[in-house]
Amino acid sequence: MIKIAIIGMGKMGRIRKETIDAHPDCEVFAICDVNSEVGKEFPSIFFDTDWKKILELQPDAVMVCTYNNVIPEIVCTALENNIHVFSEKPPGRSVSDVRKMMDAEKKSHDRILKFGFNHRFHYGVMEAKAIVDSGRYGKLLWARGVYGKAGGLGFENSWRSDKDIAGGGILLDQGIHMVDLLRYFVGDFVDVKSFVQNCYWNSIPVEDNAFAIMKSAEGKVAMLHSSATHWKHKFSLDLYMEDGYLCINGILSSTRSYGDESITFARKQFEDKASAMGKPREEIIYFDKDDSWKHELDEFYRCINGKESVSIGNTMDALRVMELIEKIYEAGME
């Protein structure tokens, strides 16, 4: 049984707890939150408001579900104390944060450090990866990803809009998932053009929209739009290949505000085959279940047991994504 401590019992901490509770070989060993009232909700679990005291208990692993600004310190301290770490995204606020955590990971020798890029474990994304990797539609030509949400009431005063705490705006908060997915499908990007703007929430010190066009070393281009002014929530990822295409539309969430999660795919057909040009035979798969949290924990568990190394959300993924995000910020703010 792997004993896991959760640090930070906000929305993500609670999702992680539910997932751990459902895992046959993991248990929540201790909980930490800056709000002392939270402890009363979990009377049978050790609770403290000080994360250092939680680490002193020597859990097997810790899940870091805190604000972005404290992630690096907690991650590094846990690794120094020989504790495996799963941390929510973003991996800190900057590339230098990631490098610090990578150093701690190196010094710890065999401790696992994994970051939460759960979107790769959504069934729509897994299906897309299988199609792209099978090569049945040929090589990837280009990609386009949109991930947007509505900022909502109190957005200006939220911690997400505080540059010191969050480190960045919607791109670093939510857009990071799309950046990760574009890297996952296209590869690393060497050239970035972008606009990073405040289109609506003008009083906040971080962006509410980021638009980027990125090119890989092989010349594949990806477009990205990350938005906090998408009044209708939206997730879409289009991948066009030589002989076909696929589009992931929607992503399952607890509120279903991003709609049904589906993947539409088709082989290209010209007018000799299709009933109308540009209207090929399509197949759509709708997914009714989000097991991404479970799959993510399963992978973390297998890694801790030495059965595999971290393939999704490892520190190299974290570093590359943060480097790309910094490039988008840099290019977009010129």
């Binding site: 299988a130 990797d133 049945r136 759509i284 798969i285």
Partner: protein, 319 residues
């Protein structure tokens, strides 16, 4: 867990069946079935084992009874194995279906559908087994054209054929395979669980079954019943509903990865048989009189909600 919708506007009913040949086939089947026993008693459901009392329709003297638990349909009293063997291997119908004329014409018509089906198989194999080549057994094929397409696909390294119908020759060796294909087969077996147990035992642990068959709770079957031209009683002795199929698979030990009904033809089949629909079935008559775009959307709705009469399954042998 998942739902399917397939958009294939170029496929029409007449693309699947050659009209005059289909009529001949139908007459031969009718002739055979009309001469066998026509029992009136209703035995328990071969899927759930439940007592059955409701006869949904009768065709060529065979009564189709409904399972009260799963809504599956099957013949009330199954013909014995001798009759079934004669039907499939030693009848005018089986000989006609084995002719080059029949095989070639069917292959020509269904090539596009089969190509899509093979692409689906490859997609599912890649999704669940990964990027490699696999040993595959094709259970019960009856079209040489289908076999020719499947055996040359790049994800298969070893292709065997089990319990095929003429003219396809079986090549099955008793060993364990990584995937089993079983298309339009289960519907002709009077003991479907027995069949699935055999299939289960022929798979390696972690191996997958890819299956498709007619459903007894699909739109065209429920709407047309005995008037459905696409139901031949001995070709379709057992028509599981999605619930019935799930029950069978679980009873055989499988873990269901996908169970969907991406059928393309329900609405077209009903529309084609509009003259057969009794006048008092106002709903069916009205629906099928709608414009093509609406009917296309209706077919999409049937597909998405497991209401079409074509079931597709991916199931795994645990381990």
């Amino acid at each position: 867990m998942i739902r399917h919708e397939v958009f294939l506007p170029t496929i029409k009913v007449d693309d699947v069946h050659h009209n005059s040949m289909y009529k001949h086939e139908l007459n031969l089947a009718k002739d055979f079935v009309s001469k066998i026993a026509q029992p009136t008693n209703i035995k328990t459901c071969p899927i759930s084992g439940m007592e059955r009392h409701e006869v949904l329709f009768e065709k060529w003297g065979q009564r189709y009874a409904m399972c009260p638990k799963t809504w599956s349909l099957s013949i009330g009293t199954m013909p014995d194995d001798k009759i079934m063997n004669q039907y499939w291997f030693d009848s005018d119908l089986s000989r006609y279906r084995g002719t080059a004329e029949f095989q070639n014409a069917s292959t020509e018509l269904r090539k596009e559908l089969w190509t899509s089906q093979v692409e689906w198989i490859e997609g599912r194999v890649r999704r669940y087994l990964g990027m490699d080549k696999y040993s595959v057994v094709d259970w019960g094929p009856r079209m040489q054209g289908w076999v020719d397409i499947v055996k040359d696909t790049n994800f298969i390294k070893d292709y065997s054929i089990a319990e095929s119908l003429p003219p396809v020759e079986p090549t099955f060796k008793k060993e364990n395979y990584q995937a089993v294909l079983m298309f339009d087969v289960i519907q002709r077996y009077s003991r479907p669980l027995e069949l699935l147990l055999k299939v289960f035992n022929s798979l390696v642990s972690g191996g997958i079954l890819l299956l498709a068959c007619r459903s007894g709770s699909g739109f065209d079957v429920l709407t047309l019943g005995g008037e459905s031209e696409s139901i031949f009683p001995l070709d379709h002795v057992c028509l599981p509903s999605p619930q019935g199929m799930a029950m069978l698979l679980k009873s055989a030990g499988f873990e269901i990865l996908e169970l969907t009904t991406p059928g393309l033809l329900d609405v077209q089949l009903v529309k084609k048989s509009l003259d057969q629909i009794p006048k008092n079935r106002y709903f069916q008559r009205y629906v099928t009189s709608l414009d093509d775009l609406t009917l296309e959307r209706l077919q999409g709705f049937l597909q998405q909600n497991n209401l079409s009469s074509h079931i597709r399954v991916v199931a795994k042998k645990p381990g």
